[in-house]
Symmetry: C2
Subunit: 352 residues, 2 copies
């Protein structure tokens, strides 16, 4: 049985929502858990769920909560006490080194020590990255780990890599991101022969900054060596049209792209909400339109994808959104289980 | 009377739509035109409009065309013959030098020669930039011109600079972009005391790539010298929440942000369209919801802003979208007229 280490103290709604999501996942995907955090707080949450017999969670849409039956005693879990927490604003490098007894460092250690196959954290992204990198080390041959993010589109999802692990990159790093992204797309998203593109400005070869121009020939060569199909430059607006299945970017541009997607979507949805609150007729039509808009929300909801994978470290590390609900957390665990079951790291080690 | 040079051959629907939009603007904003392009083609379009007495154009929303009365003979225009056109795919540097008789080069020359105050082109962005830079030269002290783009938000618009003129930037360039962006926000968008931010990953000082980290203290110093208020890092998702009025970015990241905004918005709108076409009830509700969604479309429509300004060149150069409709072209001319009337270049020269 796969065992997942859960940073139960990380996230805006920790530990309650994190534990709820983890239990839900354990029950649904039949995995074991190592819950890491302040023992008393975790036990309080567990006792509550045990006595009520269920949790309440939305299912990817705000406002509508459903009841999920949880039989705590049927779930294979252990608690590992960790008394410290690394907050969102803390300097990452320092806290990782100083707070050895923090929930994220202890969760990573559970993987490093071989008790667990994967770690899931909804805490500070920087802390989760640093703890995973220092605690697990890199896969042999990998220069720098990178964050793989799944982006929804009309058809199949697209993998953006690097979503922000490295603020500075080299062409060689981007080439490795391509390899890792392909492994992820193939094994975790079931995309056969993933096509690779590079995030740039302008579609033609020769367009972009120096990094893109220097990476282009390397990716072209990888195509010639049969590693993957390379489709060339992918513009920001082409991210969502399945021109490429894996889009390679330096962590700065990748993170900008990711956050702008988030920002644009919430601006639009906010505008729609306001329009449908303007006057009686608007409210009425808005009410009728709601189920349709909700279906869209469900399709583009990051909570359904659950988390980003830090690829290139020796072990599986899933970084969930800080605002993760139980539903998001459940899906983050699913992403971890998927990665473990498909042995994505062997594929990466082979490709690098 | 302000006179605007129009690259009548540039754009996907040139020359017809370009001429229509230019005439519409001339009538609405009381400006004179120098239409630059193949004389016979332009005369054909003009004759058509003259004889019908109107043009048909959407007003920022697809599908719904309105009739605009145009009295061609009351408009102050001249035609300058230019027989060549620079296509979208052509290598920019070469074409600018070789095709001296292209419509974009000749339009810029109309400004350089002092016959016109501004040039508007919906042709190849690269060609328009290069022609403007070589034809007009830089404002004294400006290292590199940059593209200022207006982005709609819930409240007031935000200026993103550089939207893609420079694929490689230095901290000193970004500092100049800040100055130019502030001038633009103040004069063209009527924003008092515009706040400046820098596009980055992570909100705190010290987050971002080397370029951002090196630019940060310069912008801070500019704040201390009373140049503008500096709000620090702006994340991609914060672009739309009016944290800053002017967001500075290198042209690569800026262009990625811009295009991702475009891509996300069209993905979402496409999804909404499809949802409301699923079945009879969906169609019915979709029909009722249409006016509400159209109002949103109008608010976020790039066509309403008309074009991007290439700031830092000696003269006003507006680069309109390749897909510009007559409505978009009219607004691009308005942006040019605004910049001329507010003498934005004097303000820039003073600030640099």
């Amino acid at each position: 049985m796969v065992r997942i280490a859960i940073d139960a103290m990380g996230g805006d709604y920790a530990p309650k929502t994190i534990v709820e999501g983890a239990l839900w996942a354990a029950q649904e995907y039949n995995v074991a858990l190592e819950l890491v955090g302040r023992e008393d707080e975790l036990n309080t949450v567990l006792d509550e769920i045990r006595s009520s017999g269920f949790i309440l969670s939305d299912c990817g849409t705000k406002g509508r909560k459903i009841k999920i039956k949880i039989d705590v005693d049927k779930i294979d879990y252990t608690i590992t006490h960790a008394c410290e927490v690394i907050g969102m604003g803390e300097a990452v490098g320092q806290s990782i080194r100083k707070k050895k007894d923090s929930s994220i460092v202890a969760s990573v250690k559970a993987v490093a020590d071989g008790r667990c196959e994967a770690v899931v954290s909804a805490g500070s992204t920087g802390a989760a990255m640093a703890a995973s990198l220092f605690g697990l080390g890199r896969i042999h041959g990998v220069t720098r780990p990178a964050i793989a993010v799944t982006i929804p589109t009309m058809k199949k999802p697209v993998v953006l890599i690097d979503g922000g692990a490295n603020s500075e990159s080299t062409p060689e790093m981007l080439a490795q991101f391509a390899s890792m992204g392909v492994a992820y797309a193939k094994l975790n998203l079931d995309i056969e022969n993933p096509k690779v593109g590079i995030l740039s400005i302008g579609e033609e070869e020769g367009k972009g900054n120096t990094l893109v121009k220097d990476t282009y020939p390397i990716l072209k060569e990888m195509q010639e060596n049969g590693k993957f199909e390379f489709v060339g430059n992918v513009e920001g607006k082409e991210l969502f049209v399945n021109k490429a299945d894996v889009v390679v970017a330096d962590g700065f541009a990748g993170n900008v792209a990711l956050k702008v997607t988030e920002g644009t979507a919430s601006l639009l949805l906010k505008m729609i909400e306001i329009e449908f609150k303007s006057g009686f007729v608007g409210c009425l039509i808005g009410l009728m339109a709601k189920p349709f808009l909700r279906r869209i929300l469900n399709r583009i909801n990051w909570e359904s994808f659950g988390g980003m994978l830090l690829l290139g470290v020796r072990g599986i590390s899933v970084i969930a959104h800080g605002r993760s609900s139980a539903f998001a957390m459940k899906n983050a665990v699913r992403a971890a289980v998927n990665a473990v079951n498909h042995d994505i790291n062997s594929e990466i080690a082979q490709n690098i």
